[in-house]
């Protein structure tokens, strides 16, 4: 019977590993971003497992504060990557249109 803390930590490590593998394998922006977020969720889960102090004990607040900050960072970075992706897409469709114009 393994302890709750260890179970959650191992789940965190597992998520991290899955995310890492997918990040390295995918080259398209969207799958890669999702993979990065899975990876991040794994890290946050490890932090939360570290903070756990049993059912009776009070959880350590510091890792919680860290995870909150981490989530804010992850959300803003994801938003920025999506914005850049959209910008790139509109640039590419512009060039395609202008090339099509030339052909005609």
């Amino acid at each position: 019977m393994i302890s709750t803390q260890l179970l959650y930590s191992l789940a965190g490590v597992g998520l991290f590993a899955i995310g890492l593998r997918a990040t390295l394998l995918h080259h398209l922006l969207l799958p890669r971003l999702l993979a990065l977020n899975v990876c991040g969720a794994g890290v946050f889960l490890i932090f939360i497992a570290v903070a756990y102090a049993g059912i009776e004990g009070m959880a350590d607040p510091v890792p919680h504060a860290l995870v909150l900050t981490g989530i804010v960072v992850a959300v803003s970075a994801t938003a920025m990557a999506l914005a850049l992706g959209r910008r790139l897409e509109s640039k590419e469709s512009e060039t395609m249109k202008s090339e099509a114009m030339k052909d005609e």
């Binding site: 922006l29 490890i46 570290v50 900050t69 981490g70 970075a77 920025m80 850049l84 992706g85 640039k91």
Partner: protein
């Protein structure tokens, strides 16, 4: 006086917010706030020089609960370097952007980059390092994307996703450190860290994450495209500072905190990667068709030199020899910072003048832009490591430390790297002095050429002749986190 450590972060931060509101006066706001931060950074350096490292606890909250800022020899020297480069690039950028919309987007991000750099260098705990690293990464990516063409956007997306991966891996290491020791304060960690499997895994993760950020071979693949496609003042800051602060964190962790965990074998591995980076980066720089791409590959090579010091510092006995190697490492980093930023700023002038930066078509630029080509030659002197530049001394000590440590095999790497550097610098000069039509005045664009000249002069003359002070500073208040 100790308030300088707050001002150096808060002034650019306020400047960034104000420049969003009054975007018409943004460049003036940026110049004023960066000069103020430059003054604050020199105040910090003098304070460290006179009375040693000091800690400032924000709002009086002690470490563990609050955020503590710390200045010591290493961080204050790098702080002054980063503020000098940023200030020069700020003057340069005040006339660089002609498009009003682009200019309005540039300044707030630029000031935020300054905030992130300064806060990172003064951070005293691992989590603040993570947050500032992310802040730095995000502002750097946004600034890279400012070029707003396909290549730049692709480079920015790659830079962002690889940077995110790096910082997540780093954060995983931070989580393990907290699990093991219950603190993230660097000074407190330095006292309790032991060489056990947990520390090794945590240390390995943090190192891997930072190696991505510092672009050590073979993790450098994102760097050339990002640095080459960013606007010129941004490239200067990215190559000279953003990559270097990742190396700074690595040094902090390796030498101050995890010195028991760092084995000679792992140091040797990193040194070997550094040596490959020197040769491979210089070779790619020699092959590059474009000026900015060449400079970016040269950064890969110059970062490699910094890693060669590591196996030497680990092996050398504590005392004068180790201090000398450490100071030489710092001197190499400083010289590269000043020289590469001067180089990128000059490359920007050439790009604006010629409308391109293809090396093969630079003929006549030496007559049209004499001062800019002079600056490129000066920074070339520092990149090669000719006397009296700071990197001449740095390489000299690198070679003598290799002898002292009994690791002669680094010497051929340094020699070959320097020969390749000579080749790529002279390749540019050869093309620049080629035939061309126009003849220009000595000084064409004062606001753009003079900052670059200042940076190049610091790299070649001031750091070469005035580096004795650096030796004193490191010997007195060297790599000590404990006090």
């Amino acid at each position: 006086m100790s308030n300088a450590i707050i001002w150096v972060i808060m002034v650019p931060f306020l400047g960034s917010l104000v420049s969003i509101i009054w975007s018409r006066y943004a460049s003036l706001i940026a110049i004023i706030s960066n000069l103020a931060a430059l003054i604050a950074s020199t105040v910090i350096l003098t304070q460290v020089y006179q009375s040693g490292p000091f800690i400032h606890e924000l709002g009086g909250w002690q470490a563990g609960l609050g955020i503590s800022l710390r200045a010591d020899a290493l961080s204050s020297i790098l702080l002054v370097m980063s503020m000098t480069v940023i200030s020069a690039a700020t003057f340069y950028a005040s006339t660089y952007f002609t498009d009003a919309a682009k200019r309005a987007r540039f300044w707030p991000l630029w000031l935020m980059l300054t905030v992130a750099l300064n806060a990172l260098l003064l951070s005293g705990d691992l989590f603040n390092l993570y947050v500032t690293l992310e802040l730095l990464g995000l502002s750097a990516v946004a600034l890279t994307a400012l070029s707003d063409n396909r290549a730049a956007l692709q480079a920015a997306i790659r830079y962002l996703s690889i940077g995110l991966l790096g910082s997540l891996v780093f954060l995983a290491g931070v989580a393990l450190v907290y699990a093991g020791y219950g603190t993230l304060d660097l000074a407190a960690l330095a006292k309790v860290v032991q060489a056990n499997p947990l520390s090794q895994v945590a240390f390995g993760l943090m190192t891997a994450g930072l190696l991505i950020k510092s672009a050590l071979f073979p993790l450098h693949f994102w760097l050339p495209s990002a640095h080459a496609s960013a606007p010129a003042p941004v490239s200067a800051a990215l190559s000279a500072l953003v990559v270097k602060v990742a190396v700074y964190i690595l040094l902090r962790l390796w030498i101050d905190v995890f010195d028991l965990v760092l084995t000679p074998a792992s140091a040797m591995l990193l040194g070997t990667l550094g040596a490959i980076a020197v040769i491979w980066g210089s070779w790619q720089a020699l092959q590059a068709q474009r000026l900015k791409l060449m400079a970016a590959y040269s950064t890969v090579a110059q970062i490699g030199y910094l890693f060669i010091f590591l196996p030497l510092i680990v092996v050398l006995p504590e005392g004068t020899l180790q201090d000398a190697a450490f100071t030489a490492l710092l001197l190499m980093a400083l010289t590269h910072g000043f020289a590469k930023s001067a180089f990128f700023l000059s490359a920007g002038v050439i790009q604006q003048y010629c409308g391109h930066d293809r090396i093969a078509e630079l003929g006549g630029t030496a007559r049209a832009l004499p001062l800019t080509i002079f600056v490129i030659a000066l920074s070339g002197v520092a990149l090669i490591g000719l006397p009296p530049s700071g990197s001449f001394l740095g390489k000299w000590y690198l070679i003598s430390s290799s002898f002292h440590a009994g690791q002669w095999w680094w010497i051929p790497v340094i020699v070959v790297g320097s020969i390749l550097a000579t080749a790529y610098v002279f390749r540019i000069l050869g093309h620049a002095f080629g035939p061309g039509e126009s003849i220009g005045r000595v000084l064409n664009w004062g606001r753009e050429e003079i900052p670059a000249l200042m940076l190049a002069l610091i790299a070649t003359l001031i750091l070469g002749f005035g580096s004795a002070e650096l030796w004193d500073l490191v010997a007195q208040h060297g790599d000590t986190t404990g006090n």
